[in-house]
């Protein structure tokens, strides 16, 4: 009994440094931010400190700006997740084959992922530059465009440019997940199917895809959750422009905090983003559970 108690105390003392750090760095700020969503923390307001109830949540959810940001964030999330998943799967299927140089290819596939987001953003900003960008130069020489285009100067193409920049960097992550799953697949099943006369597409559709379903769901969930909070690429490449065409929820929250100095609005946006992400995650997990139940 005494030994158990002293072991308990020892356990607590060993864990306490981590607990203290987590409390001060994670939990306390989360709680304080939550409080900010209910209290007027606009630093230039005359009514700072006043309890506002659900005022900020209601005004955010009923503002056209919030839903416009939401729409743009969803567009970006869906498009870039789809691109990464599909292209990642295709590349993984390729890298799963055995041919000369495949090991080298597998190694260099990781390079885009290793580049810091800030560097990636600056890189693509230069590529898409309307006056001297490489993309314009190549397309012009291929006679695909008649003159240099301002890719980042139009709201629609700017958003697509950011999707490309993000997909290029993060596809290797999807490739790794799919490749790992594929490597565990029993080759004998393929051979049996080939003997039965099944072609490439049929083998893929009937054997590979169902096997990869859980992996696909994991990749999609992870990427969606990450992308909903996207900020750094937008900050580097377009700063929310042109004409707000690339302003996401997170970028708007940043502006509200650091430019407008309205910490309540920013905190509310942050919590709304978190709530949406949790809802998406729960939905995906439900689908995942259903999916894995089906497999059994």
């Amino acid at each position: 009994m005494k030994k158990r108690k002293s072991e308990e105390r020892f356990a607590y003392s060993v864990v306490s440094p981590a607990l203290i750090i987590v409390f001060f760095v994670v939990i306390a700020p989360m709680v304080i931010t939550l409080m900010y969503t209910f209290v007027n923390m606009d630093s230039t307001s005359t009514r700072t400190g006043q309890f506002m109830g659900l005022h900020y949540y209601i005004s955010a959810l009923s503002s056209a700006q919030f839903w416009a940001d939401f729409g743009r964030t969803m567009y970006y999330t869906v498009l870039s997740t789809a691109a990464e998943t599909i292209v990642g799967l295709l590349i993984a299927l390729l890298l799963d084959q055995d041919f000369k140089g495949v090991k080298f290819l597998r190694a260099i596939t990781i390079i885009p992922w290793a580049i810091p987001t800030v560097v990636n953003g600056s890189l693509w900003k230069l590529i898409f530059n309307g006056q001297y960008g490489v993309l314009n130069a190549i397309l012009l020489r291929l006679h695909l465009i008649s003159s240099y285009q301002s890719w980042l100067g139009d709201p629609g193409s700017a958003m697509n440019a950011i999707v490309i920049a993000d997909a290029w960097k993060m596809t290797p992550l999807a490739v790794i997940f799919f490749l790992a799953a594929l490597q565990g697949f029993n080759r004998a099943t393929y051979e049996a199917a080939m003997v039965d006369g099944a072609g490439v597409f049929r083998r893929f559709w009937v054997l590979t895809l169902p096997y990869l379903k859980p992996t696909i769901l994991i990749v999609v969930v992870m990427r969606t959750v990450e992308k909903f909070k996207a900020f750094d690429l937008f900050y580097i490449m377009t700063r929310g422009g042109p004409a707000d065409g690339t302003k996401t929820l997170m970028y708007d929250a940043y502006l509200k905090a650091f430019t407008n100095l309205n910490y309540s609005q920013a905190a509310t946006y942050a919590y709304l983003i978190a709530i949406i992400v949790v809802m998406l995650t729960v939905a995906y997990m439900k689908i995942m559970r259903k999916g894995s139940d089906e497999l059994e």
Binding site: S150, P242, N260, N262
Partner: protein, 428 residues
Amino acid sequence: MKSLKSIVSIGLSALMAVGMAGCSGGTNGGGDTSAKKGVTLKALFMKQAGYSETDINAMTKDFEAANPNIKVDLTFVAYEELEPKILTAAKTGGYDVVLGDCIWPSQFAKSGMVLDVTDRVKNLNVSDIYQGALDSTKYNGKYYGVPWLNDVKYLYCNKSMLSKAGISAPPATWDELIADAKAIKDKGIVQYPIAASWSQAEALICDYTVVAGGFGGAFVDANNNPTLNSDANKKALSFMYDSLKSGLTNPKSLEMIEDDVLGTFTSGNAAFALNWTYMYNESKDASKSKVVNDVEIEPVPGEGSVKSATVNGGMPLMITAGSKNPDEAWSYMVYLSSKDVQKKYCKDALPIWKSLYSDSGVISTGGADLVKVSNTQYQYIVNRPQVSYYSELSNNMQSKLQSVLLGKEDAGKALDELQSKAESLQNG
């Protein structure tokens, strides 16, 4: 077992103690000097533009030599990091003296981030300081800083392009500028004669302030009430849109900020450009510019009864509200902005003191052309609205103005919407 546990416990406690000491002692390297008679000031400056880091270090060394009981710790950051750093440090005095953009004093004053220095400013020789520069630190009739880094936008012309088109003198009005640009374009000298910084950033508002001012418009009236949808402002915005539509302003301007305008001008792809003082030295640098001998700097044109109007882009020095040493901070600021120091380092940035513009030393170091045009231009400085909600208003203006310039919205309607937004911000 027991000895192992005690070893681990002691080890952990030691680690925690070191960690805590590291945390608190971190930035306060000068913690022990402030415990004695001396004072350590922490000052925040900007990299890149205006006075160089070397210059500021030299100025600070001289100040420390003249004031042996004060030490100054300098920090240099990029412009984008200035505001967040000031916001997080202002109330706790993480920095005593900070360099800010002239659009921040109103907001900082209202949120209690910087000190009211009206009484101290009165002791300076204010009549010798350009009014526009001094006013940039004013809010509700009180002063919250000292102007230090002087900057306005000028009109830059490519002399050889103008003479090839048969234009003998730089344009004095915006209409003349358009006519000149058209002549240059028609003769095939350059595809897009005008380069401007119209991306969704503060740069766009700076340019709009210049053009609107030239047309006699203002964003707020004398009582700081918004006047965004005045006829003059609408005319100025339509003017900017028309210049894009007629192919006179480079369409890539919508993704450019000032550095991109510099690149376009120095590579010989623009005949006219609006930009800050730094472009003058950069475009005369043979290692970076192709137009070294063709650069001409002129006052910005006006229109009608307005001779000229330019936007104030200066950066004042301010004392944070949380500073423990406001008196020493003030003496440091006064030293940095004093006539002698500004005269010595005028190659990088021109002084705030009117009398220095006729000083032969300043003229030879700063460059005769630049000093001459500045002396004229500084009399026509327009400040962006000095209201506490300026930053939020600017964000709204940036996206709406871009909509108009992209042809997605009508200028009049957009400005009407901005006016209502400004009014609601004012009352909010």
